[in-house]
C-alpha cells in the first residue's frame, strides 16, 4: 500500500535527480569549454606579442642595416668561384695532412750498418738462380706464383693476336690507325698472311717464330718500331679474356677466319 502511494513521489524525485545530473554534466562541459577558450585567447595574445617582437627584431636587423654593418665592420664579400667545392672529395683534399719533416724521428747516420738487414731482401734472386733456399719464406712462394702466371700467358698471347689481326685487315678505323706505321714499314698483306698461316699450324710457338721475323725486318728498316711492336703486344695481352685460351678451340677459330678470308 505505502509503496504504491509513494510511487509518484519516487517518480518525481528520480526525474528531478536525473535532470539535476544532466544539468551538472552540461555545467561541467561549459566550464571546461570556457577554460579552453581562455587558453585559446591567451594563445592569440601570445601570437600577437610574438609578432610584435618579430617585427621589432626584423626592423632593427633589416637588410640595409646589416649591409651598413658589413661595410663598416665585417667587410665580408661574396665568395669567388674557386672558393666553392663540388663534393666530399674536394673537401677531403683540403684536409689532407701536409708532409712535414718529423723532427722526433731517430737520426739515421749515412754509415749505419744496413747490409745485415738487406740480406733477407736480397734472397729471392738467389733462389731463382737455382741454389736451394735456406728456408721456404713467403717470398719464394710469391715468386713461384708469378712464374706460373707467365707460363699461362703464353697461349693467351696467341689468342689475342688472332682476332686482332683479323680485325686489322677488316676496315676498323681505330685499329687501322694504330697499325698504320707498321703497315707502311712492311708489306702488310703478305706478312699478315704468313702470320695467319703460322697461327693455323701451331698455336703455342707462334711468337717464337714471328718475333725473329719482325726483328730481322726491323733491323733493316727502323729500330724504334721494334719497341713499339713490343708495347702493342703487351697491350693486347692485357685485353685477353681468361676463358679464351683453349688450344683446340683456337685452331678451329683461326681456321674459320682464314676460310672466311
Amino acid at each position: 500500500m505505502s509503496s504504491r502511494s509513494f510511487r509518484s513521489v519516487f517518480m518525481v524525485a528520480s526525474c528531478a535527480g536525473a535532470a539535476l545530473g544532466c544539468y551538472l554534466v552540461s555545467l561541467r562541459v561549459a566550464s571546461e569549454r570556457a577554460q579552453l577558450e581562455d587558453v585559446e585567447s591567451r594563445i592569440v595574445l601570445a601570437e600577437r606579442d610574438t609578432r610584435v617582437l618579430q617585427t621589432e627584431i626584423g626592423t632593427r636587423g633589416r637588410l640595409s642595416q646589416l649591409e651598413r654593418w658589413n661595410a663598416g665592420a665585417f667587410a665580408l664579400s661574396a665568395p669567388a668561384a674557386d672558393q666553392f667545392l663540388k663534393g666530399g672529395f674536394e673537401l677531403a683534399r683540403l684536409a689532407a695532412p701536409e708532409r712535414k719533416p718529423d723532427f722526433k724521428a731517430p737520426v739515421v747516420l749515412a754509415s749505419a750498418p744496413v747490409p745485415e738487414r738487406r740480406a733477407p731482401l736480397a734472397e729471392p734472386p738467389m733462389d731463382d738462380s737455382g741454389a736451394p733456399a735456406p728456408a721456404a719464406t713467403p717470398n719464394t712462394l710469391l715468386h713461384e706464383a708469378s712464374l706460373k702466371i707467365e707460363t699461362r700467358e703464353v697461349p693467351a698471347r696467341t689468342a689475342a693476336l688472332l682476332p686482332q689481326a683479323a680485325a686489322r685487315s677488316t676496315d676498323k678505323p681505330a685499329t687501322a690507325a694504330r697499325s698504320a706505321h707498321k703497315v707502311s714499314a712492311e708489306k702488310p698483306g703478305l706478312a699478315a698472311a704468313h702470320l695467319r698461316k703460322k697461327v693455323g699450324e701451331k698455336a703455342a710457338p707462334i711468337e717464337a717464330v714471328s718475333t725473329p721475323r719482325f726483328a730481322a725486318k726491323k733491323s733493316v728498316d727502323k729500330k724504334p718500331i721494334v719497341t713499339a711492336r713490343a708495347l702493342t703486344k703487351l697491350l693486347r695481352i692485357a685485353k685477353v679474356d681468361p676463358l679464351a685460351p683453349l688450344p683446340a678451340h683456337h685452331s678451329g677459330n683461326s681456321k674459320g677466319i682464314a676460310a672466311e678470308r
Binding site: S41, T55, G58, S64, F84
Partner: protein, 575 residues
C-alpha cells in the same frame, strides 16, 4: 426596495434584454480572461523552456567572444622566403579633445610644445581654444613620448592604439610594395594592386607572398645605388627575373623613398622607373632583331656576312658606328662589337611589317602584363614607322619600353623562345604559372646563347663578366632626347644579362640614367664602363643564393661563334 413579484407583473422587455446582455458579456469576459491566461502561461512556458535550453546547451556568463585565430587588420606582405615586407602593427596615437580639457590650457600648450616640437606653443594654444572637437597630435608615437604625455594627466588628451602599416625593411623594394594612405588603403605598388585581398577579412589572415627575394633585392639595390652615386646618375632601375616562370625576384627604381613616411617622398622618388618609365634602351634591343631575323630565315647563323662600311647611307640618313669595321663582317662580329650599321641592315631586310608583328608578339607594343598598376605604355614611331624607323628600332632607337619589358623580352628569348607574363606573385599552389606562348623557336633561342656570351667574353660587355657564372648579355647606350634632339653627351646606359648562359635561369637588367664620366672610365659614359660592372658584382653576390654554382670550366658552345670572329679588339668603348 419593494420589488414587484414576478407573478404579478410581467417582466419588462428591457430588463429581459439586460439579463441576456449580461450573460453574453460574462461569456465574453470569460473568454478573454481565458485567452489572457493562456498568453501568460505561454510566455512563462517560453521563458522556462529558454532557461532550460540555456542551462543545457547555453554558454556560461563569463564567456568571451574572443577571436580564435589572430587576423591582422590588413594582410601581411611577405617575400618568397616568408620574410615580412609589410605588416600592420598597433601604433600609439596621441590626440586631443579641446572641449574636454579641464586644466590650464596655456600650461598644457607649453608642455605639448616641449614634447612635440613640430608645433609651437602658440599653435597648440590656438588648437585648445578653437572649440573643435578633435585633433590628432601624433600618429605612430614612440612609447617614451606616450609615457610623457600620459604623465601630464590631462583627461582631454586621448592616447589610443590604432592599426598602422609598417615596412620593416624600410626602403627595400619600396616601388614594388607601394604604401597605404591614411585610411589604410593601398595607394601604390602591391598595396594598391592587391588592396582587395589585403583588406578582405576572409583573405587577410593569409599573407600575400610576393616573388621578390629580399636578399636579391638588397644586393641589387646596394650595387646599383653605389654605381648611381659613383657615376652621379640622376636615376637608375634594375630588374631580376626568373627566365622560366616570369617571376620578378627583384625590382628597384632609384632614387627611392621610405614607404613608412611616404608623405615626405618627392614625385621623382615615387616614380617607378622600372615599370612606369619608358626609355629608349639602345643596343640591348639588338638580340631581338637578330632573333627575329633568324626565325624569319633572313639570317642563317652567326657566320652570315654583311658589308659594314664606315658610314651607311640609308633612306636619306646616315647610320654611324662608334668603331666602324670598314670591311665585311659576320653576324657574330656585329653582335660582339654592337654595330649599328650591321644590325640596321638586318632590320631593313626584316622589314616594317614583320618587325611590328614580332614586337607585338613579344609584348613590346602594349603595357607590360604585370599586376602592378604603375605600367607605362611603350612609345613607338606610330604612323611614321617607315623603313628608316625600322632600321633604328632594329638597334634600339626610336622605341621606348620599360626596363621590366626588356627583362621580359630577354626571358622570352632565353626560355627556349616561350613568353611567360611577368608576375610579382610567387609561383606556387595558390598562383600557378601562367600558360606560356611561343614567340621564337627553340633553335634560335639556343643559337643566341653563344652569341651573347661572346659579347661578354670578347665584346663590349667584358666588365660584366663574373668568373664562373657564365654571364651573357648585351650593353646598350642610348642618347637621350633633350629638347627634341639626341644629345651626344647625355646617355642612358643599360645592360641586359642572362646567367648561367649554358642553361639560362635568370635575367638581370640594369639601367643608369645620365651617368657621368669618371677618371676610371677614361671619360667614357657608355654602358660597358658603368652598368656592366654592376651586373658582375650583383651576379657574384646573388648567384650562390639562387643556387647557381660557379664553374670555371663550363661554357656554352662557343665553337659556334668563335670561328666567325676575325680579331677581338681590346676595347670596351662601344656598345
Amino acid at each position: 426596495m419593494n420589488a414587484p413579484s414576478p407573478a404579478l407583473v410581467a417582466q419588462r422587455p428591457e430588463r429581459l434584454r439586460l439579463v441576456g446582455q449580461r450573460r453574453q458579456l460574462l461569456a465574453v469576459m470569460h473568454q478573454r480572461l481565458m485567452f489572457g491566461m493562456l498568453v501568460f502561461a505561454g510566455m512563462v512556458a517560453i521563458i522556462v523552456l529558454r532557461i532550460l535550453y540555456l542551462a543545457a546547451f547555453g554558454d556560461h556568463a563569463g564567456r568571451k567572444e574572443g577571436p580564435t585565430a589572430f587576423v591582422p587588420e590588413r594582410g601581411d606582405i611577405v617575400d618568397r622566403n616568408g620574410d615580412p615586407l609589410g605588416r600592420t602593427i598597433d601604433a600609439w596615437t596621441i590626440a586631443i579633445h579641446p572641449g574636454k580639457v579641464i586644466g590650464d590650457k596655456l600650461a598644457l600648450a607649453q608642455r605639448l610644445a616641449q614634447l612635440m616640437p613640430e608645433h609651437s606653443a602658440d599653435q597648440y594654444f590656438a588648437m585648445l581654444r578653437s572649440g573643435k572637437p578633435f585633433y590628432y597630435l601624433r600618429r605612430r608615437a614612440s612609447p617614451d613620448l606616450v609615457d610623457a604625455v600620459n604623465a601630464i594627466g590631462e583627461p582631454g588628451l586621448a592616447i589610443e592604439r590604432e592599426p598602422d602599416r609598417l615596412y620593416p625593411q624600410t626602403s627595400l623594394a619600396a616601388h614594388v610594395l607601394g604604401f597605404t594612405d591614411i585610411d589604410g588603403h593601398g595607394a601604390a605598388g602591391a598595396e594598391r594592386a592587391f588592396d582587395k585581398y589585403l583588406a578582405d577579412p576572409a583573405t587577410r589572415g593569409q599573407p600575400l607572398t610576393l616573388s621578390i627575394d629580399s636578399r636579391v633585392q638588397q644586393a641589387l639595390e646596394t650595387e646599383l645605388g653605389q654605381a648611381m652615386q659613383h657615376f652621379s646618375a640622376i636615376g637608375a632601375a634594375g630588374v631580376i627575373m626568373d627566365v622560366h616562370t616570369g617571376e620578378v625576384l627583384a625590382m628597384t627604381s632609384m632614387p627611392t623613398f621610405n614607404p613608412n613616411a611616404a608623405g615626405h617622398a618627392t614625385p621623382d622618388q615615387m616614380f617607378n622607373r622600372a615599370t612606369l618609365g619608358v626609355f629608349e634602351l639602345g643596343s640591348t634591343f639588338k638580340p631581338f632583331t637578330l632573333a627575329m631575323a633568324m626565325d624569319s630565315g633572313i639570317v642563317s647563323g652567326p657566320g652570315q656576312m654583311y658589308n659594314c662600311p664606315q658610314v651607311l647611307p640609308a633612306y636619306g640618313h646616315l647610320v654611324h658606328d662608334t668603331h666602324p669595321f670598314g670591311r665585311r663582317c659576320s653576324v657574330a662580329e656585329i653582335m660582339m662589337e654592337s654595330s649599328n650599321i650591321g644590325m640596321g641592315q638586318i632590320a631593313d631586310q626584316l622589314g616594317t611589317v614583320r618587325q611590328k608583328a614580332w614586337l607585338k608578339k613579344m609584348g613590346f607594343l602594349d603595357k607590360a602584363e604585370i599586376e602592378l598598376r604603375e605600367r607605362g605604355r611603350p612609345l613607338t614611331p606610330g604612323v611614321r614607322w617607315g623603313p628608316f624607323e625600322t632600321m633604328t628600332i632594329g638597334y634600339g632607337e626610336g622605341i621606348a619600353v620599360a626596363p621590366l619589358q626588356l627583362a621580359m623580352g630577354y626571358a622570352t628569348l632565353f626560355d627556349g623562345g616561350i613568353y611567360h607574363p611577368p608576375t610579382i606573385l610567387k609561383i606556387g599552389a595558390g598562383h600557378p604559372i601562367a600558360a606560356g606562348k611561343r614567340v621564337f623557336t627553340a633553335d634560335t633561342s639556343y643559337k643566341m646563347r653563344s652569341l651573347l656570351r661572346l659579347v661578354v667574353m670578347k665584346g663590349t660587355g667584358r666588365k660584366a663578366d663574373a668568373p664562373g657564372y657564365r654571364i651573357g648579355g648585351k650593353t646598350g647606350t642610348a642618347q637621350k632626347l633633350i629638347n627634341g634632339h639626341y644629345s651626344q653627351r647625355v646617355n642612358l646606359t643599360s645592360f641586359a644579362g642572362v646567367f648561367p648562359m649554358d642553361d639560362p635561369r635568370y635575367v638581370i637588367v640594369v639601367m643608369l640614367d645620365e651617368p657621368k664620366a669618371t677618371k676610371e672610365t677614361y671619360g667614357f659614359t657608355t654602358a660597358g664602363w658603368n652598368v656592366a660592372p654592376v651586373v658582375s658584382r650583383t651576379v657574384s653576390r646573388i648567384a650562390p643564393m639562387l643556387g647557381v654554382a660557379p664553374d670555371i670550366n663550363r661554357e656554352p658552345n662557343m665553337a659556334e661563334v668563335l670561328p666567325y670572329v676575325q680579331d677581338a679588339k681590346q676595347d670596351a668603348k662601344k656598345d
